[in-house]
Amino acid sequence: MSLTEESHAPAELPEAEAFTLIDADGNAVPVQQRRGYELPDLDMLKELYRRMVIARRWETQVTALTRQGRLSTYPSARGQEASEIGTVMAMQETDWLFPTYRDSIAVGTRGVVTAELLSGFRGNWHCGWDPNEHRIAPQATPLATQILHAVGLATAAKLKGDPIATVAFIGDGATSEGDAHEGFNFAGVWQAPTVFIIQNNQFAISVPIAKQTRARMLADKAVGYGIPGYHVDGNDVAAVYAVVSEALERARGGGGPTIIECLTYRIDPHTNSDDPSRYRDAADVEAWKTRDPVTRLEHYLKSEGALDDELRQSIEDESERIAAAMRDAMNQEPALDPMELFEHVYNEPRASLVEQRDALKAELDDANAHVHTHTHTHVEKRNS
């Protein structure tokens, strides 16, 4: 087998209009506007709703705890729940996820528990979960770098004949990085089973999308890689779920990568320490709130008679329980062992690291022994 084929893809422009199945008012769009996609069935929609409600409640709690100083920092995905949850719910267990710092709720939805999930943002070890257990890479901070990892892992699976796909999240701002290009391009050339989810939340910290690209939309980038590109209403979880599901199936079936731009909006500040009043109008935020992913699905489910008060209450109760458990988890001080700093740098033990570890150990032992005295009293200038 060779990874590359002589044939090139035909060029096609993505549809300009963001694809929607359930509109901002919670109405399903007419069948002829569905571009051949089916609405997810009601059970799935209920599940998507449940997950989004839980995610939002959980994240609201995290943000509150961050304000109280219990986390070092936290980048919230509020407003982006449809893109986050719609994507990961379309994945199979054997697929791999490559998230960014923004995508904690996607990681949580895939089953990583709070204590492990928030390890890094609490200021503890960067990646708190076992990537192999969950098939979730550590959340990437160096922008766009993770999409290459996703392409590499997908290619390895392809070479081994495993029918899995990888999903890489990437922000609108990060698409300007060289690695975004290299990731899309390698995926195209190697026909890697990778689905790229560009979450266009319209800001890179303070910088609006108009300063990131002159293109009509980010999905247009797909053309330059011979990859199918889609522009999706990223606040419509039904549309996200449908398009991502299709792309993942295509990928697992040997049909190569897909670029999906989810048009959405970051409702919260970039992180807790950001001050969006410096760069955007509160009115814009309000306008986007009318397109809220959770509310719109709630409307739809209600109009379909699929969400009665009882179910709604039970989901809310569940969310509260999860938020409370989450608060408890964060109230437990993480176990910290400074000696562990030296443990994971290499597989092969290194004498010099052992020396440095022992020096720290001695320092700490010494400090313990001399609590309340200055450890430096033994510095004596005997000569000179």
Binding site: G123, V207, A367, H376, R382
Partner: protein, 344 residues
Amino acid sequence: MAETAAPSSETRSEAPEKAAKPLTMAAALNSAMRDALTEDPNVVIFGEDVGQLGGVFRVTSGLMNDFGEDRVWDSPLAESGIIGTAIGMAMYGLRPVVEMQFDAFSYPAFEQIVSHVAKMRNRTRGRVSLPIVIRIPTSGGIGGVEHHSDSSEAYWTHTPGLTVVTPSNPADAYSMLREAIASDDPVIFLEPKSHYWVKQSAEPAGTPLPMNKAAVVREGTDVTLISYGPTVAVALTTAELAADEGLSIEVIDLRSLSPFDDETVGASVRKTSRAAVIHEAAQFGGYGAEVAARVTEREFFSLAAPVLRITGADIPFPPPLLEKYYLPHPERILTALSTWEWDA
């Protein structure tokens, strides 16, 4: 992710009028850019979030508003692109001052910096100079999450063609940034991010020391402690503690990492006959290796003991909750000094 230790909002919007009495290093840097923009129409500032927001540390706060978007603007999010276009601008007579948001986010620009910024003047036999200043908020100490606390100086100082400087206080921040912008050589300007919001009322006394000179910031007779950027404060505290014990420490603030001020350091070491260097970066191949090697080469027969290095360990910068175990601190330095055979 980028703003772990952003200042309080009052401090943020403060864009001081004059340089004479800078209160914080951030304000001093802001003044330096403001004055440079005012005096030289060729100075331009661009990078990620440096315009509207004023930078994630608010160091460029107010500049876009006051000088307009053709002097100060937000670029696309791509570090190689920022440096690469700065090169082209410098070739056409502009003097770009660009920001890399954190050390680790300068790495995508490594090729443009090492293969072009550093080499352009040499490869064109002096015909094309690149007066570019690359500002980088450097080092740890603010509890930054992963990738936000690197100290990258060893990468730059090993690269011929670059000038690398780092201020440790507001007065130096102002004068050194002015000099860096005025220099026809490209300058890596490392700003210790843990110092942005430390206020210092000290006014610069008289003519500022040139950017390429080290400063003796505390005189002493027994030991020379060589520090720079964020470790100058650590060295000064150490000296204070040591004084109580009767150990007289001379503290040097290198200010310029490349070039290295052999004269000032050499004079001190010849006086004290003992030296140690302090930095946050990993020890192996760190900047302290060069300091130790060259001080030893030049002053071997004055040295009563080997030059010590008190630095970060040879591990990636730790998570916030563990950084205190990593960063050099006065007790650790004093303990290290005590390993010397003082009566040898």
